[in-house]
């Protein structure tokens, strides 16, 4: 297991949509060992400041083995991501990763990937991985507006033709939510399919409701506040499915879970 904790340089940093950025970081060993669904913890504070205190978790959106880089997509939502958006290429960021357990890579039967919002990041990584291995998958990506998706797809070199796109305002692809195309897909398949999904909680719940009993496996990537990202603090608890009061820890047991194991 390779696990890096060091300062890594920003090589590429650009805005790809409203408040959405792509960040390319020089981290050859992370690039080499990262698996789809894994994440990194990134320090966002200035060199000699203590605030914001915690590192922020971001999914790896893809890696570039040749350049030895990893890429993440992020949206500016609060203090940390705002600070992050201001760093220039050349700046060093504290990087810890790759972390967590990613998506199942070998699956039998048909495969459907679903990503919503910034949840497209690990789905893009997974999709690229599958394609590179010569396999195939249906990939459904959703966003509120086309703006949010276009730049991200371009940056990650994914052709609009290869994926199914939905936008809430209909400005790109089909108007509506990812569950629309997903429902259609599910009508046409047998029970031996796998769905692998990442996105906001309501989306994951909807995907789970839709696919109930219709697929062999639904894997979902979850989020929670994290302090350490490596199993030290037990802060990232998420309720297990079942009657007993038990928790999984997203950073260590996940972030990707079999949907049957966790409450959505």
């Amino acid at each position: 297991m390779v696990l890096v904790d060091r300062k890594c340089k920003i090589i590429h940093h650009s805005q790809v949509g409203p408040e959405v950025y792509v960040l390319g970081i020089d981290a050859v060993d992370v690039a080499k060992h990262a698996l789809p669904g894994q994440f990194v913890m990134i320090g966002v504070r200035g060199k000699s400041a203590f605030d914001p205190l915690l590192r922020r978790p971001f999914s790896i959106a893809w890696t570039d083995h040749v350049k030895g880089m990893i890429f993440i997509f992020y949206r500016v939502v609060g203090r940390g991501t705002r600070l992050l958006s201001e760093y220039m290429p050349g700046t060093g960021l504290e990087l810890l990763g790759p972390l967590g357990r990613g998506f199942s890579l070998e699956v039998s039967g048909r495969r459907i990937l679903v990503g919503g919002g910034l949840g497209i990041a690990p789905i893009i990584f997974l999709y690229k991985w599958i394609k590179a291995s010569g396999a195939s998958a249906t990939c459904i990506l959703g966003a509120r507006t086309g703006d949010e998706l276009l730049g991200a797809l371009k940056a990650s070199d994914i052709s609009l033709e290869d994926v199914i796109i939905t936008t809430e305002d209909g400005s790109l692809g089909k108007k509506g939510l990812v569950t629309g195309p997903l429902a259609k897909c599910l009508d046409h398949i047998g029970g031996d399919a796998t769905i692998q999904a990442c996105g906001p909680a309501p989306m994951l719940k909807a995907v789970s409701n839709l696919s109930n009993h219709k697929v062999r496996l639904l894997e979902v990537s979850l989020e929670s506040y994290m302090a350490c990202g490596i199993g030290l603090c037990l802060g990232c608890a998420h309720k297990k499915r079942g009657d007993s009061e038990e928790y999984v820890h997203i950073c260590k047991d996940g972030p990707v879970f079999d949907a049957r194991d966790v409450v959505l």
Binding site: M1, L53, R55, L96, S224, I230, C233, L234, K239, K252
Partner: protein
């Protein structure tokens, strides 16, 4: 002051009563798991001791999420003392620590004096592998209507007096900062026979989610840690050191070697690193290295030479 006289013969060893540490840097309970999780980042044999996550008689699931939240220079947590329970600790966690030869302090918690006693008795079976027991007295005292033992001198005295009777393992009492007068609590621990005290535990605090109009943490209240609380912790260590004769272990917001020096100057004999490890898992080593360098440069030959009289 300014002069630099590199010393090669400084002695980092410290004795906390019967507890001997190869150096004064320890890892604080709840921020280093059961040790093993940290091994990719830190050589646990290079530091003074590891204080494992608080252990109770039975396993505890912990609080509903959200359990943690960031505040300005601070971390708010309400983990709810999730832990595997003493039985699983002894069979699944301690053997590894023992194999590695890691100096292990076991942090324990209970809701009654009886629970603390039973925990200590059980741990005594492994007294060879346990350097010390750290008593977390910030837990609700069921008998006293949920007020933590550690918030009164009487409650503190009561727990400590009983545990020292049932075990040969040295006892460190970890004090709650949520009190009017830390000195009277420190004295109660000493009077009851504690071998050392450690402070501070987290400070009771909260955050509110203004969009949802409700407390942000699943548990409403949480404990504040991190650099934000350092000046408060330092004051309490200063006060406690001046109130008791037993050794004091300083905890609270230590993030840099300079912070460590401040606590040692305030009168601590050792320090614990908590939140800093969460933010950067290798922190303890950096702090130890910085401390060592500082002592060399300034000509402090041993840790307690740093004390301000």
């Amino acid at each position: 002051m300014g002069e630099i006289r590199e010393l090669s013969d400084i002695n980092l060893e410290v004795s906390l009563g019967p507890i001997r540490l190869k150096n004064p840097v320890m890892l604080a309970s709840g921020t280093c798991g059961y040790g093993r999780e940290l091994t990719p980042h830190l050589d646990l044999n290079s530091i003074g001791a590891v204080v494992v996550k608080g252990i109770s008689l039975e396993p505890r699931p912990g609080n509903p999420p959200p359990r943690i939240f960031e505040t300005p220079c601070g971390l708010l947590n309400a983990i709810g003392l999730e832990n595997v329970g003493v039985k699983a600790f002894l069979t699944e966690k301690l053997p590894w620590l023992k194999d590695q030869g890691i100096s292990t302090v076991v942090n324990i918690l209970g809701n009654s004096v009886e629970e603390y006693k039973r925990l200590c008795s059980i741990l005594s079976e492994e007294s060879q592998s346990i350097l010390a027991i750290e008593i977390n007295v910030s837990c609700p005292n069921v008998k006293a209507g949920g007020v933590a033992f550690g918030r009164t001198p009487e409650g503190t005295y009561e727990v400590v007096r009983h545990v020292v009777e049932v075990t040969e393992i040295p006892i460190i009492v970890k004090l709650s900062p949520n009190v009017t007068d830390i000195t009277s609590i420190a004295q109660a621990a000493q009077d009851a026979g504690a071998h050392a005290i450690s402070l501070i535990n987290t400070i009771l605090a909260m955050a509110i989610d203004i969009e949802k109009k409700r407390p942000l943490l699943g548990n409403t209240f949480g404990g504040l840690s991190g650099p934000a609380i350092k000046p408060i912790a330092l004051r309490m260590v200063w006060e406690a050191h001046r109130a008791v004769d037993i050794p004091v272990i300083g905890i609270g917001g230590i993030s840099t070697w300079k912070d460590a020096v401040e606590f040692l100057m305030a009168g601590a004999s050792a320090i614990q690193i908590g939140t800093a490890t969460l933010v950067e898992p290798g922190s303890a080593k950096k702090i130890l290295d910085g401390l060592t360098r500082f002592m060399r440069q300034k000509g402090y030959r041993e840790v307690e030479a740093l004390w301000i009289d």
